[in-house]
């Protein structure tokens, strides 16, 4: 039981981090960013390059991941999503654009970083073992702690800074925010950069645990969308709740149902379908959008 709890907290924290960036971009721009998983993978590869290849301190590599992805996010918004949103009222235009960017990033990642699974040296050695009731490597505990810290920092940033308030205003009502003097173009770009930066941050953190490979982008996006659907699209607290719920469902399922084969995700998908049929807006989303 203790092990399930520990695994659930760890998985929940990392999943919440993945979902945060996706839901932020959706809240600000109404864009379903299918390339979110690829941004996560790119963040992992940047940390791999600076920490694993160049031997720079992990913190520096992590900062490079955040910076690189923030720049990539800003450029994507400035030159691709922004113009498309201005020129097309159809929502599927941005969805198709996001899918195309996902394919493009996959191709670029293959060219630059290759097809192999990549990993980096452990940032902390050793394993916490509480009488074989809870076994958790120290690096996972550290990453879990850093993920929770990053979530708290992000919420504080959104809550207490001028930029955060502007972004929240933009998410609540774009026209009203514009009428109140918010520079929507500028803050859209900042918001997209922030969302991509979060993907880069979590990619950089998790490369120390899971490694990174070219094929992780698509499945990561799928899981992120599941979390957002559970919690409610465009709601920050919903993304966190969705991540934690999915993390615990996975931890419990893998521990309790392992003797029946791989049915954990089958049950998660069935539960999700039933849940969405009853509450399509998710736990914390609003039915009117």
């Amino acid at each position: 039981m203790e092990q399930i709890l520990a695994n659930g907290i760890y998985l929940g924290a990392q999943y919440a981090m993945i979902a945060l960036g996706l839901t932020l971009i959706f809240a600000l721009m109404n864009v379903l960013n299918f390339a979110h998983g690829q941004l996560y993978v790119l963040g992992g590869f940047v940390t791999y390059t600076f920490y694993g290849q160049f031997g720079l301190p992990f913190v520096v590599a992590l900062a490079m991941s955040c910076l690189t992805l923030a720049i990539v996010g800003a450029l994507l918004e400035r030159y691709l999503f922004g113009p498309v949103i201005r020129r097309s009222a159809r929502e599927e235009s941005t969805m198709l654009l996001a899918a195309a960017i996902a394919f493009l990033l996959d191709a670029i990642i293959l060219l630059v970083f290759g097809e192999k699974q990549r990993g980096v040296p452990k940032i902390v050695d050793g394993v916490f073992n509480w009488d074989f009731r809870v076994i958790m490597p120290y690096d996972r505990i550290l990453i879990c702690f850093l993920a929770i810290l990053a979530i708290v920092a992000f919420i504080s940033y959104m809550q207490f800074t001028k930029t955060g308030r502007a972004l929240r205003a933009l998410a609540q009502d774009r026209t009203a925010a514009q009428l109140m003097g918010v520079d929507t173009a500028r803050y859209s770009m900042i918001g997209f950069a922030l969302g991509a930066m979060l993907a880069g941050l979590v990619g950089g953190l998790l490369v120390t645990i899971t490694g990174v490979n070219l094929g992780m982008g698509g499945p990561t996006s799928v899981k992120a969308f599941m979390m957002v659907m559970i919690g409610g699209a465009g709601v920050i607290s919903g993304a966190i709740a969705g991540g934690i719920i999915l993390g615990f469902m996975e931890a419990i399922g893998l521990a309790v149902l392992s003797q029946y084969g791989d049915i954990t995700y089958l049950l998660i998908f069935i539960s999700l379908m039933i849940f969405l049929a009853i509450r399509p807006q998710g736990l914390m989303g609003k039915p009117w959008g």
């Binding site: 192999k116 076994i135 490979n213 070219l214 996975e250």
Partner: protein, 394 residues
């Protein structure tokens, strides 16, 4: 003055064009196909195929091409990414047929290899899958040639070796929830039971997109087997599974029947991967020939980094070309190729000694529909593979 310059330039351009055309006209082109997975989580499997073929083709073309009968051919590799989707694999094989390609390497997985069978047979294509279903290679099927050693051939050899040399008595299996790993797990369980080993866990599986294996593998580790078999594990998952198992305190042996990459293991699991047993090809220093060393060198120069999976995947193209060279009519007629397989034999350029390229598979399939690549069982130690033992498949 200006007009004269233009005329001169045009003359030089025409002369260059004529020379280039003449140079290219010397050799015809022989197209060899590849249909397999080069994107997604299993991309490394297909990419190592494609890169092996392209490296070898470039090498052959550089030294003047391959002589078949009284003609010399440059080799062109035509590739198709099936994304590990059987429907796309069929489309890929149809594309090969439309291009008049008679010999195809791939697909990489069971369902893709089974799906392309009707297309290959209807269009007279011989293909070299990296998939293990016996019905593909057993009569009445005749167009598929297994490109590697199957798990039901390597598994028993590894288990027997470990029983005799390490006293292994209990074994646990863990596999991805996909057709290939699951069928390899089932084959492994049967082999272990046949050898008298006790199977303590064989029902734990994981999603192919799993990124954290600790919760997955915890119930398996609690059974404390002497040997943990990672059935059909992909190179992307192997280091993570090894790392999770070791971090959970597992001290027994870990093995797989699939080919792995030493760099990936080093980066992903470090010294925790020491002692990991896998199946490899012919590049360990003990058995690699000068040609194999040069192949690795050329591959590395072309693509920046070598992939140890190519130790096995270098062979398919070599078998195709050498069999056609020995039987030139086979270039357009796969029936000639198939008829020649029973008696074909040529020197194996990638291994030291008197190793031969020949087709095998009589014991497993009742006909020779498998390339004879060496069954090299490797153990990983400190960033490199060491040869544990070498065996042959008949």
């Amino acid at each position: 003055m200006y007009r004269r310059t233009i005329i001169k330039g045009a003359a030089v351009a025409l002369a260059s064009l004529a020379l280039t055309t003449a140079a290219h006209a010397e050799n015809d082109t022989l197209k060899i196909g590849f249909v397999g997975v080069t994107s997604g989580p299993a991309a490394a499997w297909g990419i190592s195929n494609v890169r092996s073929m392209e490296t070898r083709a470039a090498w052959i073309n550089e030294i003047g091409g391959v002589q078949i009968g009284d003609k010399t051919y440059d080799i062109e590799i035509v590739t198709f990414d099936d994304q590990k989707d059987p429907k796309r694999a069929i489309a890929g094989m149809e594309k090969m047929a439309q291009e008049g390609i008679r010999y195809v390497v791939g697909p990489n997985v069971d369902d893709g290899a089974a799906a392309v069978r009707p297309v290959a047979e209807a269009n007279g294509i011989v293909y070299f899958p990296y998939a293990f279903p016996k019905e593909l290679y057993s009569p009445p099927a005749s167009n598929a040639v297994l490109g590697m050693v199957a798990n039901y051939q390597s598994g028993p050899a590894i288990y027997k070796y470990l029983m005799e040399s390490k006293g292994v008595k209990t074994v646990a299996f863990v596999a991805a929830n996909e057709s290939d790993p699951l069928s390899q797990r089932d084959g492994g369980v049967m082999a272990a039971n046949a050898l008298g080993m006790e199977v303590v866990s064989d029902n734990v599986t994981y999603q192919v997109d799993t990124s954290d294996f600790t919760p997955v593998i915890t119930p398996v580790i609690r059974t404390q087997p002497d040997l943990l078999v990672l059935s059909g594990v992909s190179p992307a998952h192997a280091p993570q599974l090894i790392r999770s198992a070791r971090e959970l305190g597992y001290e027994g042996l870990i093995s797989t029947e699939t080919a792995q990459d030493a760099t990936v293991l080093r980066e992903g699991a470090g010294e925790l991967a020491n002692g990991f047993i896998s199946v490899g090809g012919a590049s360990t220093p003990e058995i690699a020939s000068d040609a194999m060393v040069e192949f690795v060198d050329r591959y590395t120069k072309m693509f920046g980094e070598y992939n140890d999976e190519s130790n096995t995947k270098v062979y398919a193209l070599e078998y195709i070309l050498e069999t056609i060279r020995a039987n030139p009519q086979a270039i357009d007629d796969v029936e000639v190729f198939k008829a020649a397989m029973d008696d074909f034999e040529a020197p194996n350029p990638f291994m030291k000694g008197n190793a031969a390229l020949k087709y095998v598979g009589m014991t497993s399939f009742g006909q020779k529909r498998q390339v004879a690549v060496p069954l090299v069982v490797n153990v990983y130690r400190d960033g490199a593979f060491e040869t544990l033992f070498v065996a042959e498949v008949d």
